[in-house]
Symmetry: C2
Subunit: 95 residues, 2 copies
Amino acid sequence: MLKAIIFITLKESVLDPQGVAVKNSLHTMGYQTVADVRIGKRLEVVLDTMDLQKAEEDIRIMCEKLLSNPVMENFTFEIEEVDESAICSSNLSGI
Amino acid sequence: MLKAIIFITLKESVLDPQGVAVKNSLHTMGYQTVADVRIGKRLEVVLDTMDLQKAEEDIRIMCEKLLSNPVMENFTFEIEEVDESAICSSNLSGI
């Protein structure tokens, strides 16, 4: 199996109100050195295939069509092999 | 300046309904090989300091007290040096 780790971040020119709120909270907590906070997403997508090239193409299209908003966000991803048994044991632990 | 990249992920034993919804959407789009989706956060926190040790301590406490929910989530982070001018130019571009 392959696991894609996908990072979705707001483009630099886009204001991040959630990040501003977190920055203000950190200032209130006493962390005055915090200069900027930006909040993005990290997704793990496990694919039941070993075809790396096809997986890269698929993940790119998934990001463009569903996972990210190309107008406001950038995405990057990396794909690694994972041990099938490790995934099954965490997903199917109730069976 | 230092930039902390923080990853916040749900613990393995915690159900991820948002991830399940995305997995179902990907299946509907025709990507039947998608076996699992887990969604977490990626935060960038810029600190106006060069004291790496203090920054590590601060970021750890920020994660424990504000940025993550220790009951349901794990966090990891890495800290890197960043060029001050690059940060100022993106933050203060309107001035």
